[in-house]
């Protein structure tokens, strides 16, 4: 049974809606709940989750409250949701603390500040960033939906002033060991990182930390920076700054392959370095190492090689260890193999990209909403086809809703749907921890796995990787335990998980 209510001409932010959904979802007898602003994308997602929205006339400023469950609880659930909208649960009261209301006001209190982190709606973000640059501040632009022309202009101004603009759509960075945005509890160490890839940066940081090596700075650039139109201006500035920094002993560069001219200028710059530079343009052309450049194919290799160099060890031995470990992973997969389709559900864009790259070398083309090759783009991101991986962090899933790293409930629902497809044999998903991420992402996914198992038994193998550290707020070992107890097979890196899952699905 379902019950739908509409609150017209209203707006609630996505954190409030998530908190209310969670509280309603915990009511006895409630099976499924969705509170969404009625954007086209949200309505499609709700329909695909099985809510019947036919006959409703909805506009984008309407809020839809949808609940499924036992008949006797539905009215109570809707009333409770409306009540909570008036007084949202669990939000920190702003009166408990002081937040400056203007950049000038903040700077007056913190005159030594040299960086502004901007997270406002995309249409206002460029103006705020420009004002901050005028005040002599470096900028981390967390906001997305900033027009390309504005990005180019901001980076031109920043370049003239010798300032950095990290982003737009820069979700993570590390400055002197302190994480900004989504970041894990990396130790402080001798490696500097420039990344045009958010979860790529996190994965390299996590894998290095597991090898006992820390980060000093990690400069995020935003994915568009390395495209031809932007020209890699932040990436190049980041490389220059970190090469000049005497505390950086090893520099690592991470991202999807830049446009050829941008890649050329980055590599020219890096070639002049007296310190080692590890290049990890995932999916790019594999080249032979030539000091100072060390070329890597995936994120874990970047971490392994960077860590070896930071410790004064032979990077080729690190690569050999990685190769042996992956052979072992393939052997492990033989024991669990089951022929069928592989479905991947990701919260991290770079993790999804890397997983497609590695899995396609075993299974052939992988379809996706963010494919390696446009030819394999899904016609409908909500309907899987063949071997398929979906990035839930893409804009289509985050408009008016939290990023899946903060709330995986839609991804979890999709997992249950995918498991019911008789042609699916393996489901792969990531679990990204760190500051800013959901406080217990493993439990969201583990509950879905248990539900799926209740329907499908052991036909489907669930594979995951926890991208996180023991010092993260969610505590990596606790998150791993939750997934293991739900019967999920856990691997040690995103690359391993993708290889294992693909090899299992190959049969």
């Amino acid at each position: 049974m379902q019950r739908i209510a509409v609150e017209r001409g209203t707006y609630f932010d996505s954190v409030t809606l998530m908190l209310i959904s969670r509280e309603i979802g915990a009511m006895e007898g409630v099976e499924q709940v969705a509170l969404n602003m009625a954007t086209e994308a949200n309505l499609r997602i709700m329909a695909s989750a099985g809510f019947d929205l036919s006959g409703l006339e909805l506009g984008e400023s309407d809020l839809v409250i949808a609940v499924k469950g036992k008949e006797e609880v539905l009215d109570r659930a809707i009333s409770r949701a409306k009540e909570l909208l008036k007084s949202p649960p669990g939000r920190r009261s702003d009166s408990a603390s002081y937040f400056p209301k203007s950049v000038d006001g903040a700077l007056a209190l913190l005159p030594g500040a040299n960086l502004a982190l901007i997270s406002v709606a995309g249409q206002y973000a460029a103006d705020v960033a420009r004002a901050c640059l005028d005040l002599g501040l470096n900028v981390m632009l967390y906001s997305d939906n900033v027009p390309l022309s504005a990005e180019v202009e901001l980076k031109r101004i920043a370049g003239e002033k010798g300032l950095l603009v990290m982003g737009p759509d820069c979700g993570t960075a590390v400055i002197r060991g302190k994480g900004l945005g989504f970041a894990n509890a990396y130790p402080l160490g001798p490696v500097g990182l420039v990344a045009a890839a958010g979860t790529g940066l996190q994965e390299v940081g996590v894998q290095m930390a597991r090898r006992g090596v820390g980060l000093i700075h990690a400069i995020g650039t935003g994915g568009r920076d390395v495209k031809e139109e932007v020209g890699g201006s932040t990436f190049s500035m980041g490389v220059k700054l970190l090469l000049e920094d005497p505390e950086v002993e090893v520099l690592a560069l991470v991202g999807k392959p830049p446009s050829p001219s941008v890649e050329g200028s980055i590599l020219d710059l890096a070639s002049s370095s007296g310190k080692p530079v590890v290049v990890g343009f995932v999916g790019g052309r594999r080249r032979e190492d030539a000091f100072p450049l060390y070329f890597c194919s995936d994120l874990e290799e970047v971490a392994a090689v960077s860590s070896a160099l930071a410790k004064g060890l032979d990077p080729n031995e690190a690569r050999e260890e990685l190769r042996s470990r992956r052979e072992e992973v393939l052997r492990m997969a033989q024991a669990r193999s089951r022929r069928g389709y592989l479905r991947g559900l990701f919260s991290g864009g770079t993790l999804c990209y890397e997983a497609q790259l590695l899995a396609s070398s075993i299974l052939g083309p992988i379809r996706s909403n963010a494919p390696l090759d446009k030819a394999y783009k899904l016609a409908d991101s909500l309907r899987s086809e063949g071997h398929c991986m979906v990035d839930y962090g893409e804009d289509e899933f985050t408009q008016g809703r939290l990023h899946p790293m903060m709330d995986s409930s839609y991804r979890a629902q999709r997992l249950v749907v995918e498991a019911q497809d008789p042609e699916v044999s393996v489901i792969l998903f990531d679990c990204v921890l760190g500051y800013g991420a959901h406080e217990n992402p493993a439990s969201q996914m583990a509950e879905a796995v248990q539900r799926a198992r209740g329907i499908c038994g052991d036909r489907v193998l669930f594979v995951s990787y926890v991208c996180g550290l023991e010092g993260d707020p969610q505590v990596a070992s606790r998150q791993r335990r939750i997934l293991e107890e739900a019967g999920v097979v856990l691997l040690e890196s995103n690359a391993e998980a993708a290889i294992f899952a693909a090899a299992c699905a190959r049969g």
């Binding site: 002081y98 209301k101 006001g105 007056a108 209190l109």
Partner: protein, 193 residues
């Protein structure tokens, strides 16, 4: 109360034993003869223009939920209309008014209390307004004003945390009132939106 930070507008904390208390009760207490740990009167001085962007931010509290009726009354009907306006033990209007009077006191300016009909609020809140007019306030606001006048930005940031979180909306009301005092009519115009 066991710390200077918990002191109120009618509190005085001095070093000494029972003898001091006895002198105090007899009314022949001389402040200059004892060490004063805390006294609630705000210092007087010039608010530094270099920190104007800090207090101008406080004007924007009038955009927050719960402040609209107070901001409207201030703009449309003046200070007297704030007396007793709003819910709470100390109505928000009285908090804003107290902050304003305190701000004037910091600037060394005198306000004619006769222009206010304080009978419209209850005794506790009325006393708070009267105390503020004498420059007496809760400890966090005294700390904030000292930090402001001495341009001690680190302390100012610390005290702002305490003041903004004071009561439900009282602290922000005080800060808004002080900003109006520092800004003059420009501050009132800002509240017009």
């Amino acid at each position: 109360m066991d710390s200077a930070e918990a002191m109120g507008p009618r509190c005085l904390w001095v070093e000494g034993g029972v003898e001091v208390l006895e002198e105090l009760n007899r009314g022949d207490f001389d402040l200059s003869e004892v060490e004063v740990v805390y006294e609630p009167a705000v210092p007087v001085g010039e608010v530094p223009e270099g920190l104007s962007s800090v207090w101008r931010d406080w004007l924007r509290f009038c955009e927050e939920e719960g402040f609209s009726s107070v901001a409207e009354a201030l703009v449309e009907s003046g200070l007297n209309s704030l007396v007793g306006l709003g819910p709470g033990l100390t109505p928000l209007g009285d908090d804003v008014l107290s902050g304003y009077l305190l701000g004037l006191r910091v600037l060394g300016r005198v306000f004619d209390l006769g222009s206010l009909d304080l009978s419209r609020t209850h005794w506790l809140s009325r006393q708070m307004v009267l105390d503020a007019a004498e420059g007496l306030c809760w400890s966090p606001f005294r700390g904030l004003i000292s930090a402001l006048l001495s341009e001690d930005r680190a302390s100012l940031a610390r005290w702002l945390e305490r003041c903004a979180g004071f009561g439900s909306t009282s602290g922000k009301g005080y800060l808004l009132g002080m900003a109006v005092a520092f800004e003059g009519m420009g501050g009132v115009s800002f509240c017009r939106g």
